[in-house]
Amino acid sequence: MTLLFESLLACLLLGFTCGLSGSFLILRRQALAGDMIGHSVLPGICTAFIASQFSLNPLVLLAGAFFGAIAATLLQEYLTRSSKIKPEMALAINLTGFYAIGLGLLTWIQKQPGVQQAHLESYLLGQAATLSRTDLFSILSSAVLCLFLIVIFFKELRVSVFDPLFAKSSGVSAAKFQFLLSSLVAVSVVVSIKAVGLILVSALLIIPASTASLLSKDLSTRLILASILGALSASAGAYISFIKSNIPTGPAIILVSTFCFITAATFYKLKQDQQST
C-alpha cells in the first residue's frame, strides 16, 4: 500500500467514527464538549511521552491522550454538580486549564536536549502524512468498536438522550449510557487528533452530523448519513492537503465539510420555501 492510500483510508475511517459519535453529541446539545476534549488530550500526550522516556510508540501516546480526555470528561461532570458553575463555564475552564498544563509540558519537552519530538506540534493542526501503520490500525479498531457499541445499544442510547428521566424509570441507566457516549466521543477525538489536529477535531464531530441533521428526521438514517459525510469529507480534505502541501489536513477537511453543510442548508431552505408556498 502506498502512503497516500493508507492516509486516505485512515481519514475515511476516522471521519466515519466522528460522524457517528458526533451525531449523539449534537443531540445532547454538547457540540462544544468535543472542543474541550480535543484540547484536553495535550497534557495526556505530553505526560505519556515523558513517562515513557520519550518513546515514539504511537500506542503509548494514544493511551496518554485517552487518559487526558477521560480526566477532562470526569472533571467536567464534577464541576457541573455545583449550580454556580454552568456547563459552558466548566467547558471553557477545562479546555484552557488542560491545554495550559499541556503547553507547559510541551515547552519543557522542547527544551530537553537531543529529544526526538515525535512531531508533537503536528498534533495542534494535524498532518495526515504523519500517520503510521499503527495509527491506521488503532483508527480501524476504534471505528469498529464505535459501530459495534452503537448498533447493540442503539435503543438504550436513543432513549437515554431523548428522555433521560423516562429511561431511568424504565430501568435503563441513562447516566451510564451518557458516559458511554462521552467515552465514544473521547475515543473518536483521540484517534483523530494526529490527522486533524486538536484545535479543529471538534469540527469533524459537529459539521457532518449537523449536515445529516438537515437531511433526515430519523435517527438511524441520520447516523448513516453523518458517518458517510464524515468519511467522504475527511478523505477528500486529506487528498487536497496532499496535492496542495501548504494546506494542513485539518483545515482542508473542515472546509470540505462546511461546503457540504452549506450545500445541504441551501437545499433544505429551498425545499422549505417550496412547501410553504
Binding site: K84, L124, L200, L255, T258
Partner: protein, 288 residues
C-alpha cells in the same frame, strides 16, 4: 532571587496583570450571559480578521485591532445568529461550526500569504509573554502593554457607563427589550469588545490561553461571591496573586509564562471548588 526583579520581569508582570484585569472584567459579563464558550469561538475566529489586518497594514496598530475586532465579532455573531434564526442548527452546533470554519479559513490564508504576514500559527497557538520586553517601545513602554493598558482604560470606562444595561440584558433579555433597551446592539457591542481584547492579547497569551484569562478568574469570583462588585474584586485578587507567582516560577523553570499563569489559576480554581463543595456538604449535614 533579585535577578528576577529586573525591568523585564516588571514589564511582563505588568502586562499580565493588565491583561488579566481587562479580560476578567469583560469575561464576567460574558459568563453572566451564559456565553462563556463565545470566548472560545471568538478566540479562534479572530484568525482570518487578524491575517487580513496584517496583510493590509503589515503590523498590528490600534486601528488594525479595532478593524479586525469589528469584522470578527460581527461576522461570528451574525453567522451564528443566522444559523439559529433559520432553525438550521441549535446554538452549540452553530457556534462550533462557525468558529472552526473561520479558523480553518484563517490558517489557509496564513499559509498562502505567509510571506506578507509577520505572524505564524505557532505564535497564535502559544503566545509568549516573555517577548513583551523585546517588543517595539511606544512612549518607552512595550507595545503589548500599551495596547492592553489603553484597552483596559477605554473598555473600563465603557463597561462602567453601560453597566446596568449589560446586567439587565444578561439577567432577563425579554424584560430588557420591553423596557426599550437595544438588546441586539448591546450583544454585538460586547462581541466586538471581546474580539478587540483577544486580538490585543494574542501575541502575549496565544489564542487558546486568552480564553482562560476571560473565563477562569470570573468563574472563581462567582464561586466565592454573589454580587457583581465583589465577584469582580475576587477575580482580580486571583490574578493579583497568581500572575507574579506564576511568572516567577516560569522564570525559574524556563517555561511558557502564560501557560504557567493559567495552569496555576486552574489549580487554585479546582482546589477552591473542592473545598467549597466539602464545606457545603458539612453545612447540609448540620441542618439535619
Amino acid at each position: 532571587m533579585t535577578d528576577f526583579l529586573n525591568v523585564d520581569f516588571v514589564w511582563i508582570v505588568a502586562t499580565g496583570l493588565a491583561a488579566s484585569f481587562l479580560c476578567s472584567w469583560l469575561g464576567l459579563h460574558l459568563v453572566l450571559r451564559r456565553q462563556a464558550m463565545m470566548s472560545d469561538a471568538l478566540s479562534h475566529s479572530v484568525l482570518p480578521g487578524l491575517v487580513l489586518v496584517y496583510i493590509l497594514f503589515g503590523s498590528l496598530n490600534s486601528f488594525g485591532i479595532l478593524l479586525g475586532a469589528t469584522v470578527t465579532g460581527v461576522v461570528t455573531a451574525l453567522l451564528i445568529e443566522v444559523l439559529k434564526r433559520q432553525q438550521l442548527l441549535k446554538e452549540d452546533a452553530a457556534t462550533g461550526l462557525v468558529f472552526t470554519t473561520l479558523f480553518a479559513i484563517g490558517v489557509v490564508l496564513l499559509q498562502v500569504y505567509a510571506g506578507n504576514a509577520h505572524i505564524d500559527t505557532q505564535c497564535l497557538l502559544y503566545g509568549e509573554l516573555a517577548f513583551v520586553p523585546l517588543e517595539n517601545l511606544i512612549w518607552g513602554m512595550p507595545q503589548s502593554f500599551v495596547h492592553i493598558g489603553s484597552l483596559l482604560l477605554s473598555m473600563g470606562a465603557l463597561l462602567i457607563l453601560f453597566h446596568k444595561e449589560l446586567l439587565l440584558t444578561a439577567f432577563h433579555e425579554e424584560m430588557a427589550q420591553s423596557s426599550g433597551l437595544p438588546v441586539r446592539a448591546i450583544q454585538y457591542g460586547l462581541m466586538i469588545a471581546v474580539s478587540a481584547v483577544i486580538i490585543a492579547c494574542f501575541q502575549a497569551l496565544g489564542a487558546v490561553l486568552v480564553i482562560a484569562f476571560l473565563v477562569l478568574p470570573a468563574s472563581f469570583g462567582l464561586l466565592l461571591s454573589r454580587d457583581f462588585k465583589s465577584t469582580l474584586l475576587w477575580s482580580w485578587a486571583l490574578s493579583l496573586v497568581c500572575v507574579p507567582i506564576a511568572t516567577w516560577i516560569a522564570f525559574v523553570i524556563d517555561n511558557n509564562i502564560a501557560a504557567n499563569i493559567v495552569a496555576l489559576e486552574f489549580g487554585v480554581f479546582v482546589v477552591a471548588f473542592i473545598v467549597q463543595r466539602e464545606i457545603e456538604k458539612r453545612v447540609r449535614v448540620r441542618i439535619h
